[in-house]
Amino acid sequence: MKGFFKWQGWVISLLVLVLLAGGCTPPPPDAGSSGKQKLVYASTADVVGLSPIKTNDRASARALDQIYETLFTRDPKTMEIQPLLAESYEQKDPNTLEITLKKGIKFHDGTPFNAEAVKYTFDKFRDPKTAAPRASLLEPIDEVIVKDEFTVVLKTKKPYGPLLAALAHSNASIVSPTADKKGNLMKKPVGTGPFKFKKWVPGDKLILEANEDYREGAPKLKEVEFRVVPEVSTAISLLETGEVDLVDSLQPEHLDRLKNNQKVNVKTNDGTPVTYLGFNMKKGPGKDKTFRQAVAHSINQEEVVDALKGVAHSSKGIIGPKVFGYNKEIEKEGYDYDVKKAQKLLKEAGMDDKTMTITTANTGNYPTLAELVQGQLSKAGLKTKIQTLEFGAYLDRLRKGDFEMVIGGWTNSTGDGSELLYPQLHSDNIGASNGTQTSIPKADELIDQTRTTTDKEKRLKVLHEANQLLVKEAPWVPLHHGVIVIATSKNVQGLEVDPTGEWHLQNVSLK
């Protein structure tokens, strides 16, 4: 009997403890709402690492944007490229960009920021031995020359129009050479940005603290926590309970829940991402332009945008309204939604009784879009099967060109049209980023021109021409252009969201 009471006693104590714990109100969460000027961001993925040279993922980029700085930056409202660590620049000749750097800036470890630091960063980034995942960003640079302590000269192999946009990309952030030589930036980053590294528990959280010596004054936030919350619905619950202050990566199904919440602000901003229905241009029916036109006429973009409940906007262009190179004239071109015409063209292409497979990844809106597209194509008389793959397997299929039709997308983090067309639709990148295996000689020529033209107005013109040609050739049928959606607690002030989805916390504060 003694044993019994002992055992029973344990159970009762445990139950009492559980009830006691449940009955107490949790202490105020260690978040911004406590008035500590600490902002907590719920990130669906952990950072891969903290070096701009060795990473190429969204979660890392969001953190890098607060720790490091680039030579140039993009104004989130106008999308204009402006100097950041650069003071000024001059295009000396089509292959030479001379950049004068700001003076008196120090990295978080005290190392002075100068032309040597820029050269060190870019040389390491471009060195094949480094195996930088985003090495292609600075591939057009041939040589980095230190002219004097605060002047650096970038020599390109050919004239390179999107160079400033590339230099404004998170991966082109300048690192402290001393810190990189001494330690591992992947674990202990050292930049010049408004926030300094404090602590990283891989898989759990990354904590940054204010750089009190920041040249434009210390940021108002004293601490920023990047908390890994893989499920967006859990992240939203945390936002509702005040345990986090900022959530992004939101899907249409989350918006209603958030919009009805008094404690939460939802910000939307038309963005640069584009989502498309693509064809295998190398083999199968996708090679036939008549078939592609039939499919293009079957797609009702307005219906797609409506179905995505505010996370999409429409444009007929492959280069969308928020991307450099867009011209609204494109809206008059492209293919209108016209089922009868689609039916006629399908017959012409001999595809009216065939079944095609739409390959898609199991991420984001892709499965929803695949079903929507399937419905629209069936109205025009084209039967389709949907093949949903895990992202790694999906990417593999795309690289190998092993699919018939595909739902795909491109975020375009430089916001420049060339950085969309070249990787995705130029024949140079078949087997890599050009998943649809597109090889249209005239388009290649135009895309090359968009890269080699350095004059801004001329670039706009040639990007529009390339956009027109590609819309007509239709290797892609644009399904929608993205809207960046972020949700914050009501006390977050001063947050601006760039159309590429980037945000900076330098001017953010908590009420």
Partner: protein
């Protein structure tokens, strides 16, 4: 007993070698490529080639396997392809979270499961028995994902009794316990249901035996008959189920870790698989396999402690 332990530990060596080989081959046969995942959709052919070279993926498969396994036998599980972090370090950061969650869940499962099973057996064919059976069926059938989300909405968002997600404090602190309660209930219900079914049938089998009748005839109180005479003998199959479940829980509880944002081994493994982070997947699988064997060994030892008739040669 010592012989059993030594024998089992020796058996681990070929088992782990076999597992590492199968995992290695399956990962390489599966579609997808680590370089592609590191480079992402933006990577050019040149980017991919230099990443592959850097990771040694251009070497023949057997060279890659032997390079890996020779590291493992020296205690080096290698470095993550993706984060360049030590695999051992990455696992060690996460394992305590998974371990604490597994312990909390198995406590919840055992308390509910054994309790419900006993009541069900003692009150056989009554409404209590039916209720317990229905409860067990529901426990097995309700998906963790759904249950977790509902518990968060009710107890964290609406009533604010518990934190919605995450583990920030050690489990022996009040805050730490609060953080573990919802995930432990989410995870424990499935195991509780199994334990309840097993306890019910084991108790029913034992309760009909002669020595129980003798005990009752001697005038021993019913409580003692059940808890001291009956339960001890009924515990063997129950402990097997508890042990097996605990082994599974230690292997990472992917969905619960995902829903409650717990930085555990299950989540590490699923991310590593998604990223084709071969070294990380292999390290995590080896850990899980070792733990599973050790937990089963522990269960065997417990048998002998509970039932002195069981002896290991």
């Amino acid at each position: 007993m010592a012989g059993l332990i030594v024998r089992r530990l020796f058996q681990l060596i070929p088992l782990l070698l076999g597992i590492s080989f199968i995992v290695f081959i399956s990962l390489h046969l599966a579609p997808g490529d680590p370089a592609s995942m590191i480079g992402g959709p933006t990577a050019t052919r040149e980017d991919l080639a230099s990443i592959r070279e850097d990771l040694g993926l251009n070497d023949p498969l057997f060279t890659q396997y032997f390079r890996y396994i020779s590291g493992v036998v020296q205690g080096d599980l290698g470095y993550s392809y993706q984060t360049k972090q030590s695999v051992t370090e990455a696992i060690m950061i996460r394992f305590p979270n998974t371990f604490n969650l597994a312990i909390a869940s198995i406590i919840v499962a055992t308390v509910i499961g054994v309790g419900a099973g006993m009541i069900s057996a003692i009150k056989q064919n009554t409404s209590l028995d039916a209720l317990s059976t229905i409860g067990a069926l529901a426990g097995i059938s309700i998906p963790n994902f759904w249950l977790g989300s509902v518990l968060i909405l009710l107890f964290a968002v609406n009533w604010q009794w518990f934190p919605a997600a995450g583990v920030t404090q050690p489990p022996w602190t009040l805050q730490g316990m609060k953080e573990l309660i919802l995930p432990a209930i989410t995870l424990g219900t499935g195991s509780a249901a199994l334990i309840a079914r097993m306890t019910r049938s084991a108790v029913l089998e034992v309760i009909r035996q002669d020595y129980i009748r003798t005990a009752r005839a001697k005038g021993v109180k019913e409580k003692s008959v059940i808890l001291l005479h009956c339960m001890r003998n009924a515990m063997i199959p129950v402990i097997t189920v508890i042990g097996l479940n605990f082994g599974f829980l230690l292997g990472g509880t992917i969905i619960t870790e995902q829903v409650f944002a717990i930085n555990g081994v299950g989540r590490l493994m699923i991310q590593a698989i998604a990223n084709r982070d071969y070294t990380m997947v292999q390290g995590a699988v080896l850990l899980v396999a070792t733990l599973f064997v050790l937990v089963n060994l522990l269960v065997d030892i417990l048998y002998a402690l509970i039932d002195p008739r069981i002896r290991y040669e």
